[in-house]
Symmetry: C2
Subunit: 138 residues, 2 copies
């Protein structure tokens, strides 16, 4: 059994400060899209629940701990990842404080970005689209 499709999770974490929505981004340490900004996320481990994987990657890359996440949807368009066919399950979390960030692991940096300033920044993969879809949940 099996196919050569990989599975990742990506997290859209929103916070609201002074009536401004911000989203949590990391700067990628590695290829593909090295140095570009992206959503925190990564590969699901075999035997790992999807939401657990999303929380783990978020913690590893940003230091942020969230209690619960809701699923946005799966993004699976062929070509969205130059490494090969990769399906990402996107999760959403809302937090009330602009938490301090501790970038680590696959992230060389992390920041809170105002949503309205996002168009200035081309994100890695299809993460612009993922954020657009997640915003419909706000």
């Amino acid at each position: 059994m099996g196919n050569k499709i990989s599975v990742t999770v990506d997290s859209v974490v929103f916070c609201k400060v002074n009536n401004t929505f911000k989203v949590l981004l990391i700067q990628r340490k590695n290829e593909p899209f090295k140095d570009m900004w992206a959503l925190p996320g990564g590969f699901v481990e075999v035997g790992e629940d999807l939401e657990t994987a999303a929380k783990r990657e978020l913690l590893e890359e940003t230091g942020v701990v969230v209690q619960s996440m809701e699923q946005v949807q799966a993004f699976g368009k062929p070509g969205r990842d130059p490494r090969g066919h990769t399906i990402s399950i996107a999760f959403l979390s809302r937090i009330f404080n602009e938490e301090e960030l501790e970038p680590s692991d696959d992230a060389k940096d992390a920041k809170w970005m105002e949503i309205e300033k996002l168009p200035d920044e081309k994100l890695a993969f299809d993460h612009d689209e993922i954020i657009n879809v997640a915003q419909q949940f706000l």
Copy 2:
């Protein structure tokens, strides 16, 4: 790159006849869950779009053609497939007629099942749960 997680799609096709909702089920020709009833679905091919895969599997197993589907969500709980860690992206489609079915490929039979009679029938995998979640879209 890569992990040993497999990706499938499953389709929840509802039709409404005389104020009764029915869901399309197939009887599995092969293990696991051989002979049990299940949602039409199967493995996504490398390079294939998720919705395209869902329509292809639906056609192969039941003869039913649908124009569009909407995504329900991904189901990825470890243990949901005895063959190994398998993540299924569920899709939903509503059709207006109880179309004639032509079971083929991995399906030895197919039928329209009244939703309210579903509890009498233990379905393969976590397909009961998938149908429950999809019903929230009705």
